[in-house]
C-alpha cells in the first residue's frame, strides 16, 4: 500500500471517528434536552411574559410608566426598604449563629458531626408550612415563649412576637440557617488542618491561628452561604405571609397581592422584574467574589 493510500485511510478513519464522536455528543446532549425544554417552556416563556407585561400599558404600547411608579410611589419604595432590611438582618443573624455552629461541627470527629448534622438536615427536610405553624404556636401571645418568660419573671406582659417584624425574622432565620450552614460546613471540612498545626508549631495562639489561617480559608464557603441566604430571603413568600400577619410586606407578597386582589398587573410585573434583576445581580456578584477569593487563596 502506498503512503498516500495509507494517508487516505487515516483521513477516513479520523472522519469516521469525528462523526461518531459528534453522534455521541448529540446523544448525550439529547439526554439533557427534556430538562432544558421544561425550563424553556415553564420558566423562560412565563418570566418573559412578565417582562413584557411590565413594559406595556393598557393599549399594548411600550411604556416605562410601571417602572417610574415603583420609584416614585412611597408605598413601593417602602416595600423595597422593608425587604432589604429583613433580608440583611436575617442574613447577619444566620452568620452570627451559623458560623460557630459550622465551625464546631467541622472540628469534632466526623462520626459525631454526622449525627449532629441531622439537627441541621431534619429541619431542612421538614415542610416549610409545618415549621411556620410551629413558630406561630410558639410565639403567640399565650405561646410557650411568652408563658416561659412570664413564669421566670423576666416580663410581666406578653411580648408581641408574632404578626410583626420580630416574628418574620425569627421564622426566616430558622428556615435560612441550613442554607448557610451546609455550604459553610462543607468548605470548613475541606480546610487542610496541617496549616493550623504549622501555625501552632510556629507559636501562634489558637485565637491567632483561627483569625489568620482558618477564617480566611473559610471565606469562600461563608460568602457562598451568605449570598445564597440573602438572595433566598429577597424572594421569600410563605413565612413572612403567615408570621407577618399581613402587617409586614415584602416584595414577593406585594407581587402576589397585586395578582390576586387588584387588576394591577403592570406595576406588579415591574416589581417582579426588579426582584429578578436584583437576584441575578447578587448571584453574579457572588460568582465574581468567589472566583476572586479562590484566586487569592490559590
Amino acid at each position: 500500500m502506498t503512503a498516500t493510500a495509507l494517508h487516505f485511510r487515516d483521513d477516513v478513519n479520523a472522519q469516521g471517528l469525528a462523526a461518531d464522536q459528534r453522534a455521541e455528543r448529540r446523544g448525550l446532549f439529547a439526554l439533557c434536552s427534556p430538562g432544558l425544554l421544561l425550563v424553556l417552556l415553564l420558566l423562560l416563556i412565563p418570566v418573559g411574559w412578565l417582562f413584557t407585561l411590565s413594559a406595556i400599558d393598557g393599549d399594548g404600547a411600550l411604556t416605562t410608566e410601571n417602572y417610574t411608579r415603583i420609584w416614585t410611589e412611597g408605598a413601593y419604595v417602602n416595600i423595597f426598604i422593608v425587604t432589604f432590611k429583613i433580608s440583611a438582618l436575617v442574613t447577619l443573624i444566620c452568620v452570627a449563629i451559623g458560623y460557630p455552629l459550622a465551625y464546631c461541627l467541622s472540628q469534632i470527629p466526623q462520626k459525631w458531626a454526622g449525627i449532629l448534622m441531622l439537627g441541621v438536615l431534619v429541619p431542612f427536610w421538614t415542610s416549610l408550612l409545618v415549621r411556620t405553624y410551629a413558630w406561630l404556636v410558639l410565639l403567640q401571645r399565650r405561646g410557650i415563649v411568652n408563658s416561659f418568660l412570664m413564669d421566670i419573671g423576666a416580663i410581666t406582659a406578653p411580648l408581641p412576637l408574632v404578626n410583626n417584624m420580630t416574628g418574620v425574622i425569627i421564622g426566616m432565620v430558622h428556615v435560612m440557617l441550613p442554607f448557610l450552614v451546609l455550604p459553610l460546613y462543607a468548605s470548613m471540612r475541606s480546610i487542610d488542618t496541617g496549616y493550623l498545626r504549622a501555625a501552632a508549631n510556629l507559636g501562634a495562639s489558637p485565637t491567632r491561628a483561627f483569625w489568620q489561617i482558618f477564617f480566611p480559608l473559610s471565606m469562600p464557603g461563608l460568602v457562598a452561604g451568605l449570598i445564597l441566604t440573602f438572595v433566598l430571603c429577597l424572594g421569600f413568600y410563605i413565612t413572612p405571609a403567615v408570621l407577618g400577619g399581613g402587617k409586614v410586606q415584602m416584595i414577593a407578597q406585594r407581587v402576589e397581592a397585586s395578582v390576586s386582589l387588584y387588576p394591577t398587573w403592570g406595576p406588579a410585573a415591574a416589581l417582579g422584574v426588579v426582584l429578578l434583576v436584583l437576584t441575578s445581580v447578587f448571584l453574579l456578584l457572588s460568582r465574581w467574589a468567589l472566583s476572586r477569593l479562590n484566586a487569592k487563596l490559590g
Partner: protein
Amino acid sequence: MEQHVPHSHRFWLYGLTALTLLFLIAPTFIVVPMSFSSSRSLIFPPPGWSLQWYENFFTRPQWQDATFVSLRVSFLTMLCATPIGVAAAYGLHVGRFRLNGTIYGALISPLMVPVILISIGLYFVYAQLGMVNTTLGLVLADTMIAVPFVLVTVSAGLKTYDMNQEMVARSLGAHRLWAFLTVTLPQIRYSVISGALLAFIVAFDEVIIAMLISGGEGATLTKRMFSSLRDEVDPTIAAISTLLLILTTVPPLILHYLANRKKTP
C-alpha cells in the same frame, strides 16, 4: 482531626452549638403534642388530650381530597423528575460539553428565580392554555422545580463513581443503556433514590405554585393548609403537620443511615 485546643477551652463553643441545634430542632416537634390537644386554642401544655384533630383530618372530605391530590401530584412528579434529572446528570457528566456550565445553570435556574415569579408567569401562560387547576399543569410545574434536586444529588453521586466500570462493560459488548442500567445505576442507587425522594418531598411541600394554579377540587394539601394558616388557625393543621413531619423526615433518615453505613464499612 487532631485537637489543638483543649476541650475545656471550648465549652462556650459547645454550649453555643447546643443552643443553636436546639433552636433548629425543637420548634418543629412542638406540633406533635399540640396535635393531641383537646382544646381549640393553642395553649401549651394542652389542657387535655384528644384525637379529635386526627379524626377531623381523616374524615373531612376537604382534607381527604386535598391529600389525594397532593399524593398523586407528588408521585407523578417523582416519576417525571427522576428520569429527566438522572438523564441530564449523566449527559453532563459524560458529555463534558463546552457549554456544560451553562446547561447546568439553565437546569438549576428554577432554584434561583423566586418561586413567586415562576408561579405568576405560569398562571398567565396556563390561563391562556386552559391549564389552570389541572393535574398536568401542576405536575409539569413541580417537575421543573424538582429536576434541579435530582440533578444535584445524582451529579454528586456520579462524581464519586468510577466511570471506567461502565467502559469495561461496554467494551465487553454491552449496549450503552444496558451498561448504564446494570453497572452504573446500581452503584449510584443511593443518590438516585435520594433524588427521587427529594423530588417527591419538594412536590408535596410546594405551596406557592399550587396557591396560584390549583383550586377547588384540585387544591393541594399545602394550599389548603396555607389558606387555613392565614385565615384562622385550626388545630387540624397540627395533626397534619405531625403526619407530614413523619412523612418528610423518616424516609430521608433511613436513607441517610443506609448511605452512611455503606460508606463506613
